[in-house]
Amino acid sequence: MRRLLAALLVFFASAAAAQGALVAAAANVKFALDDIVAAFGRDTGHTVRVSYGATGTLAQQIENGAPFELFVAADEASIERLAAAGYTRDRGAVYAVGRLALFVPRGSTLAVDATLADLKAALADDRLKRFAIASPEHAPYGRAAQQVMERAGVWDTVRPRLVLGESVAQAMQFAAGGDAQGGLVPLALASAPALRTRGSYVAIPDAMHAPLRQRMALMKRAGAAAIAFEAYLRGPMAREILVRHGYAVP
């Protein structure tokens, strides 16, 4: 019995022990943040563990007690809501402004056209069967994609043909897989080297949607490594990486 208790104690202790700062991050920053984490590791020796997901899902997890120390969101509203509810240290800071891109997989007949004029034509002549975006309900980039299509006057006709990704990563997966004829996805994902052979993309003019200002904030439980990483994310090295991945930086 005593041995069992000891084993249980070790188990819970090991479960609670932190191995590096724990970060929750929106899926659109995946490729940029992986690079930043690697650079941070080289510069400081700290390890950072990142969980990627849709901003809405991650915010929900934080409200349910997930042990994250830093939340790198895809919008401002989620951070402000968490700040108002007392989960964060402060209102945080904007670390990047995102852009959308139209991604067209190889073999699709859709033109890589930033005005979405060909998308409209493809809907009319039935070339377009499926179009991928992230769910507008919980992914900020999904909401931006909806605004772009509303402004281009195609929202009502495209709606029955949309496939909704649970996060932008899944929407990107749908768009690049070739099953959809295209998708509106974060520029930072569409321009990733991993996708170079999968298709082509064009950046959407950012006047087409409300600005995708992305905010991050430290949680109350943040430790020294997480605090150092948050500062690093606002520093010159991280800003350079973000710009290389297609973000504007404040």
């Binding site: 188990f11 929750a24 969980s51 349910n64 007690g65 996060s167 899944q170 990107m172 997966q173």
Partner: protein
């Protein structure tokens, strides 16, 4: 290849087995022999995780484990860490979703033991506990084995519930199934393929070994 995730999955399967098997044996033995009128209802309850979608089970567990529920709050106070999105929370969730995989083979095994055998054991002066350990458990061994194998293999492959209550925290709740999903989302088809292959190999080997053991047992029993 994400070895941390693989180790975590094995570790989760082992813990699930260690917690669930003793509880499952007690519950199945009772279900197999009771004449209670509540039995069909309790049987239905143990089978429920099998028929409900993982999102439903995951949703209820998330609500029950969360920092805003009494259970989640009590756990967080006692251990200083929340139950949701922790390894301990995954073990609890995994035990619950695996109940049917453990209880059903065990219950069938105990039900297959004729009542006369139990009575004979009592006549020989064995206490109920002695009869259980020396007579019933060895007779039910194939059921125990298949319960253990099903639970172990099913835990390795569990996805939906782990995704709902675990998040995807490296070294804590990112199991091999979640890691494969993450790799696919990151367009790392090679990494996803390697891990998927490993999972197939391990699951196949686990089940094959179990069939082998059970064949040997049958051969010995009929000799």
């Amino acid at each position: 290849m994400d070895w941390t995730a693989f180790r975590l999955s094995l570790w989760l399967a082992a813990w699930t087995l260690a917690v669930l098997l003793p509880l499952g044996i007690v519950a199945a033995r009772w279900l197999a022999t009771t004449r209670s009128r509540a039995r069909p209802w309790l049987e239905a309850l143990t089978a429920l995780p099998l028929v409900l979608p993982p999102t439903v089970v995951g949703f209820y567990l998330l609500v029950a484990f969360g920092a805003r529920s009494p259970l989640g709050d009590a756990f967080a106070r006692a251990f200083g860490a929340p139950l949701a999105f922790s390894f301990a929370g995954l073990v609890v969730a995994s035990v619950i979703v695996n109940v049917p995989f453990a209880v059903q083979p065990l219950q069938r095994a105990f039900a297959a033991i004729p009542a006369e055998v139990r009575e004979a054991a009592q006549c020989c002066g064995l206490s109920r506990w002695q009869a259980f350990v020396r007579i019933e458990l060895p007779l039910a061994w194939p059921g125990v084995l298949s319960a253990a194998v099903l639970t172990f293999a099913h835990t390795l492959g569990e996805f939906g519930v782990v995704l709902m209550v675990g998040g995807s925290i490296p070294g804590e709740t990112r199991t091999i199934a979640i890691a494969i999903y993450d790799r696919v989302q990151a367009f790392d088809t090679g990494g996803a393929g390697t891990m998927a292959l490993l999972l197939v190999a391990v699951s196949f080997a686990t089940v094959a070994v179990a069939f082998g053991l059970s064949d040997r047992w049958l051969a010995r029993a009929t000799r």
